[in-house]
Symmetry: C2
Subunit: 392 residues, 2 copies
């Protein structure tokens, strides 16, 4: 019912009874409990012209909060979301170059504490913390296994470490899935959602929502696209094939190619994602300034991405593709200009069914926001209302 | 409730009330209606040791039937299924070489009539007819659009043509999706199903069941895998890439390669799927007899299939892969021997989560059986019970 109140932007008790199928008395009782707990407030009155005016309800954003943490190999982001989904506080920083995971975990914990302190939020109002991390992960045990882009990470029990340090309930989710959760949460379209979220970060991955359900897969590791071959003329890959996304259009190989071609100077001290990210910024700036070499590389990258999205679209016949993540603010314009038409040429169902391609409105915080939405989702669904509204 | 009776193999009224959540009186009323209509019968009595013995119920297979038609470019299959899912009659023949779709539609109608006549089934007991056809299709209009392997077919209104000729309610579904429906229907495993069905026919495609739901996609055209690149050293493809499945390990390119290499004689008059199928039989027989050239080609094919399945597994993190279709009786042994280990090497979640690989128990009729299951599914679900049990 809280989810209905959130999505409706002003349902009355009568409308809630209609949409939930609960009796008027049940709705009234639950609403009273929520009003008493300060989670919902009466927002005003509407009149439909007939009958008596109805009191509309809305969530009180400041009544409960969730924390979202996104551990990208290049960027650590912490957000605090109110129960209405608004971001009330955020912090982002480059992921430490240290290869000892415990140092990075300490940084995560410091950032969480700092954001909480700065926000001034009463800790008793925080219902939980979600972490988005690169896969593969062990969802049930809350362990980050051995992500190819997180050097030195091997079977790190991240969930329990954060839970012990914060005292909060913690869930761990794959980064791309968290991004899809955020997009699903934000979208207010009617009807079942059927989309792929292309996450553009240190690695490229896809979060999936099919028939309105987030696709996690049997072990929570759905969304790996790194070994889709997008360039048969490309570089050899560790998997034994050639021209996989992982060696063709992910940021590191793209920058390495730009350096080989002399488009940008080869001056990075190592392959840490932060330096790669800075080089990406430089490459995009060059292309914007009219540099043909930079422009060609970025166009080739968008062609590769279109080919990967064609594989996903042909397999799943999605209605739309949303793109986002830390790289989006730089490659968004190029991708938006070139990918839709190219994707359509490669789609088997192009004559039957359009696919819309757009950027997320959530910006580069989408992973962290999705991680927090996981907690709010739990809090807003009936089975765990107890988490949100103490029976006392 | 009928679906519960079908799956349970002997629930009593009490157990039906437990599993459906309906009241004992409601269950009793519905069961009485089904008994009166002859759709359900009392199968015996069980005693749990305490309380009075319970009367178990089962479907009467001969009470209602559904027809399933599979139009594969190489093979036309018609089956009749009883409401319990048993195949009571079947017929298969090579798809006519004529390029005029109306000739093929006439053959379909003749086959349907023949199977019905031979089975001796009372036509009033047939609740509908499902058609499985190669994509792309227009599900809503019941039109076969322009499948690459069905020469001459362009926007053929197959559903309405068959409905007009038979007087039956008809649904059209993509072949690979129908195969997944059949597999889902047959499987009696507990828990949500999460699998990919690799259909091996004139073309290769994938039917998907995710979180216990059949994935149809926004336009009913999910399951296209023809342009996944499996061989970067392979032949150029019309899509602009190289080494796509469609030009690497589908039957026609495989046979063409075998002919180029002199493994089998190049004696086919044309590329019709029937001749390709016969050449496949010959190639497999040669490999079985110890011919190294034939063995190498089939091993290469299974390697390519493993690579495509890795793309599907990595994207969706499925629990199992089932393989079947017209080619399965010949390539099954090779694929079963080689694909599981190779797939595991290529899976991102290999350390977290096993994926079982097996052949369907439904044989090469799986598409036709799935098409009939679509009708039985409709008949067995509450919203369309009216279709099955006339209120008179």
């Amino acid at each position: 019912m809280l989810d209905q109140i959130r999505r409706s932007h002003g349902h009355s008790r009568v409308e809630l009874a209609d949409t939930t199928g609960l009796s008027a008395q049940t709705v009234s009782n639950i609403v009273q409990r929520l009003l008493d707990a300060g989670i919902v407030e009466e927002a005003g009155r509407t009149s439909s012209g007939r009958g008596k005016p109805r009191t509309t309800l809305r969530l009180v954003g400041s009544s409960r909060y969730a924390i979202g943490v996104h551990l990208d190999p290049g960027l650590i982001t912490v957000v605090v979301l109110g129960i209405d989904g608004d971001v009330v506080s955020r912090h982002a920083r480059a992921t430490p170059t240290a290869q000892d995971p415990s140092d990075t975990v300490d940084v995560l914990i410091q950032d969480i504490e700092m954001v909480l302190t700065e926000s001034g939020i009463d800790r008793t109002r925080i219902v939980g913390l979600g972490i988005a991390a690169p896969g593969p992960i062990d969802v049930h045990r809350g362990i980050v296994l051995d992500p190819p882009n997180l050097a030195g990470w091997h079977r790190v029990p991240l969930r329990d470490a954060i839970a012990a340090a914060t005292g909060l309930p913690v869930v761990l989710e794959k980064d791309v899935t968290a991004a899809a959760v955020a997009e699903k949460w934000t979208d207010e379209a009617d009807g079942a959602q059927n989309f792929a979220f292309l996450y553009l970060g240190t690695g490229l991955g896809v979060g999936l929502v099919i028939g309105d359900e987030v696709v996690r897969g049997g072990s929570g590791n759905a969304g790996e696209i790194g070994h889709i071959v997008v360039d048969p003329d490309g570089l050899p890959c560790a998997c034994g094939l050639r021209g996989c996304i992982a060696v063709s259009c992910a940021p590191l190989p793209l920058i390495e190619e730009a350096e080989r071609r002399g488009v940008i100077p080869a001056e990075r001290p190592d392959d840490h994602p932060t330096g790669v990210d800075a080089a990406m910024t430089r490459l995009v700036a060059l292309a914007d300034a009219g540099d043909d070499g930079a422009d060609e590389l970025l166009r080739r990258c968008s062609e590769h991405v279109a080919r990967a999205l064609a594989v996903v679209s042909n397999l799943l016949d999605v209605d739309r593709i949303v793109m986002g993540g830390p790289l989006w603010d730089r490659v968004g314009q190029m991708f938006t200009d070139t990918i839709p038409a190219r994707l359509d040429e490669l789609r088997a169902a192009r004559g039957v069914h359009p696919v819309t391609v757009s950027g997320t409105v959530l910006g580069s915080d989408v992973g962290a926001i999705g991680a927090a939405c996981l907690i709010l989702d739990e809090a807003l669904t009936p089975r765990t209302t107890s988490l949100l509204v103490p029976s006392a």
